[in-house]
Amino acid sequence: MTLPPPTRLMTAACVLALAALALIVWSLFDPRPVPVIAAMSVGQVLGTLSFGAFLLVVVRDLRAEYMRVDAASKGAKHGTRQEP
């Protein structure tokens, strides 16, 4: 499965988080059944998804960095062996 590029994921994460925050604040200013239930259900899901997207980008970033360092160190080893 191909993941969207990090910039798009981060944009989605920010938008989802803003929507979740809007629901939470709405429930605080208008504590009627629908806003409260929406904040405690939809708001939680959106917030969790946004944080998950952020973590995904960070993990992907770390993995890419690890692979880059790993490839560089392997290249350096090969370079040493080839020396006479």
């Binding site: 979740a20 429930s27 504590p31 059944p33 239930i37 405690m40 917030g47 952020f54």
Partner: protein, 235 residues
């Protein structure tokens, strides 16, 4: 200790509803504002993906929203116990108005004037006090919301008064949580003594026409109970 400060009002459907600013509300709103500022800043400025950006986004997508959600959840949960919340649906308006009425002598109004119940008198009397009581009470509340939005939202009050009734007979256990049947003072009343076993077995109800009267003036008893009209303000 719960500190409540009324700092402004919100006009809703022609009535001025006070907006309560508890410390948790302030924390939740504050965190939401900080978080939203970070996120909007990121969306507008699109800074480079550096360690500083990651830290700021960790705060904006993790720490502050989670704090806002936790504070908001606790505040929301506490808000669901309030009479204002229960009375938000129009079919409950008569019950709410009766509880708000300082001159009413109905059971619910008298409990509302008691500091131990106050503006949480609906929840205090209708909550399930079993082991999973809070969860069961909330599930029951969700059912009420569902029924309201699927069946009763457009029902006129006159019709709602006739149709809406308790799902099950009101359990005496909810009364005896506070009004214990053990003390001598309680057992000194001859009617109490005579009906003790029936009362503990829920065969008769404390809040019935023959005893302390129905809790609400417009109350419709469960079909299994007597349909005798409740005397308003029965002792």
């Amino acid at each position: 200790m719960r500190v409540v400060v009324q700092f402004s009002g919100l006009r809703r459907r022609g009535t001025l509803t006070p907006l309560h600013a508890s410390p948790l509300t302030v924390i939740a709103v504050g965190c939401a504002i900080v978080s939203a500022s970070i996120l909007v800043g990121y969306l507008v400025l699109r800074p480079a993906w550096t360690r500083g950006t990651k830290t700021a986004l960790f705060l904006g997508l993790g720490v502050f929203p989670i704090t806002a959600a936790m504070a908001g959840n606790v505040e929301g949960f506490e808000g669901t116990k309030k009479r204002e919340f229960c009375g938000a649906c129009h079919v409950m308006a008569l019950h709410r108005e009766d509880s708000d009425d300082g001159t009413s002598t109905s059971l619910s109004a008298r409990h509302a004037r008691n500091k131990l119940f106050g503006d949480e008198n609906c929840y205090a009397c209708h909550a399930d006090y079993g082991m999973f009581g809070t969860v069961l009470t909330k599930m029951g509340g969700m059912r009420h919301v569902w029924l309201y939005y699927t069946e009763y939202r457009t029902t006129p009050m006159a019709e709602a008064k006739e149709k809406i009734h308790l799902l099950q007979p009101f359990p005496n256990e909810n009364c005896t949580q506070c009004h214990s049947t053990d003390p001598m003072l309680w057992q000194k009343v001859p009617d109490h003594r005579a009906s003790l076993q029936d009362l503990r077995a829920d065969r008769i109800s404390c809040a019935s026409a023959g005893c302390h009267g129905y809790a609400h003036p417009n109350f419709r008893p469960h079909p299994a109970e007597s349909t005798t009209p409740a005397p308003r303000g029965a002792p």
